[in-house]
């Protein structure tokens, strides 16, 4: 279980909205704080690590809950120090 400082709910949104909402939300966090992103778009599994890699934030992990079609993904992103 990863501790998150802020949770962002993107349930019901498809690509690219979860990533865009994440990129906006992360600006509100302080360096080193952890953002939890809830999504039911399976694309998040690949997209969030890719976004983290190119923006310099750290992908702490991804948790899955429930079964399809009610599966919820929880991505944990640690804001970079800079």
């Amino acid at each position: 279980m990863i501790h998150a400082d802020v949770t962002l709910d993107t349930l019901g949104y498809f690509c690219p909205m979860p990533i865009i909402m994440t990129s906006k939300k992360i600006k509100e966090l302080g360096p080193g704080q952890v953002l939890e992103v809830l999504s039911d778009d399976e694309g998040i599994k690949k997209d969030m690590p890719a976004w983290c890699q190119s923006t310099g934030h750290e992908m702490l992990g991804l948790e899955e809950e429930g079964t399809t079609p009610k599966r919820v993904y929880k991505a944990f992103v640690k804001k970079s120090a800079r």
């Binding site: 019901g12 949104y13 498809f14 865009i20 990129s23 190119s54």
Partner: protein
């Protein structure tokens, strides 16, 4: 004679500095599906922190025209053309199964039900994320489209050299 020694790490850092991961997208098409693809890539790239420039030419200009604005052309030929060629992000037809608006309307309904943003919402998001919009002056003249009939926030009116100057800096250049 000085020995020429290249430090790869420094060279790479310098290269990165002079050549950021810039994205340019030329939108030639006025089809809703193609415009959506263009704006989704643009917003996605902007969310990744990449500078993005979009160039609108020919039918692509329709995406950044305000709805219901008449052609400013003086001659009847281009005025007629303006009547036939409707502008506005909300009026773009699907490239397939438009069926006089029926198919496109159905697609929009499905998109709304799935909380998927349409072209107008994607444009707003793109502008919010700092995507630059450039309209092609040549085709604007050709189609009788003036600056006043375009949406707010079109950064520049320019031509092919402006596009190329940006595209040669770009690591992703798309033509849609």
């Amino acid at each position: 004679m000085n020995e020429l020694k290249v430090d790869t790490a420094t060279a790479l850092a310098e290269l990165r500095e002079t050549k950021p991961d810039r994205v340019t997208i030329v939108l030639l098409s006025g089809d809703m599906d193609r415009a959506m693809a263009a704006f989704i890539i643009a917003t996605g790239a902007a969310a990744m922190g990449m500078p993005v420039t979009m160039f609108f030419t020919f039918w692509g200009l329709n995406a950044i025209r305000r709805k219901g604005t008449p052609s400013a052309a003086k001659d009847w030929l281009r005025r007629m053309f303006g009547v036939l060629n409707k502008g506005g992000a909300e009026t773009l037809p699907l490239s397939k199964f438009h069926f006089g608006g029926l198919g496109t309307g159905m697609m929009k309904r499905v998109m709304r039900e799935h909380r998927m943003p349409g072209v107008p919402e994607l444009i707003e998001t793109a502008q919010d994320l700092g995507v630059r919009f450039i309209a092609c002056t040549t085709t604007m003249g050709l189609m009788g489209i003036t600056k006043e009939t375009l949406i707010e926030g079109v950064d520049q009116l320019a031509g092919v050299t402006t596009y190329l100057a940006e595209a040669k800096q770009g690591s992703v250049n798309l033509f849609i």
